[in-house]
Symmetry: C2
Subunit: 114 residues, 2 copies
Amino acid sequence: MRPLFHPALEDLKPEAILYALSDPERVAIFAQIAGVGSSGTCTALANLGGRVIPKSSLSQHMKVLREAGLIRGERQGVEMRNHSRCQEVDQRFPGLIAAILSAYGRPPAATSAG
Amino acid sequence: MRPLFHPALEDLKPEAILYALSDPERVAIFAQIAGVGSSGTCTALANLGGRVIPKSSLSQHMKVLREAGLIRGERQGVEMRNHSRCQEVDQRFPGLIAAILSAYGRPPAATSAG
DNA sequence: TCAACAGTTCCGAATTTCTGAACTACGGAA
DNA sequence: TTCCGTAGTTCAGAAATTCGGAACTGTTGA
């Protein structure tokens, strides 16, 4: 397992963020992580929208979110803790995350871009 | 050639909008249409970013933008006039278009979501 | 009717996405 | 150390999507 890649703030690309959030399943995952604030483990995220996401698919989703710069994942023992990078992203692209979550009917959490 | 489909305001889906604008080429097309205000014909849009977009690809791009509800196309004689639906989209998802265009470094035009 | 033009549709190739199976990484028990 | 269970990643083949040249549709003008 190679170390997880997280883009630097100046390397964030709007197209990657929009693409990552153009899938409602990923939006649900992201909103959950951003809402909870942290500690969104993969297993905890596997059945958000009434269907169980296969873990290989979930892993791919996490990778897309991570490489878009939306979340940060760090290994903590056996599991992976994921937390949002909303504040960072908001520095770089003010209002973007909030507008997107709001369009999806998911009011951004206080801990994130709000 | 079947008549062009344009979604009603209440049928706009954030995922379609984000997907449509997750491609820099489409963003360039959309920004051009939104900036000019109208009369963005396909041939006028074919070489925005230093490369000539094949017309079949361009037609697909226009379809994606149209079906996301971002532009409206109407036949005017031989050619097709495209104009943005920014104001409508902004009613439905306030601030979304502005935040996205701003993230791409394309300040939204006064005629659109500003 | 014919030609030219603007854009769409068709279709095969290339790319991407999905997901079960195999695998890696870590922690605990013996 | 070795073995086992858990969490998540990577692999690989099938399915779906995207790209773009060629053919086509629809319009204008001669």
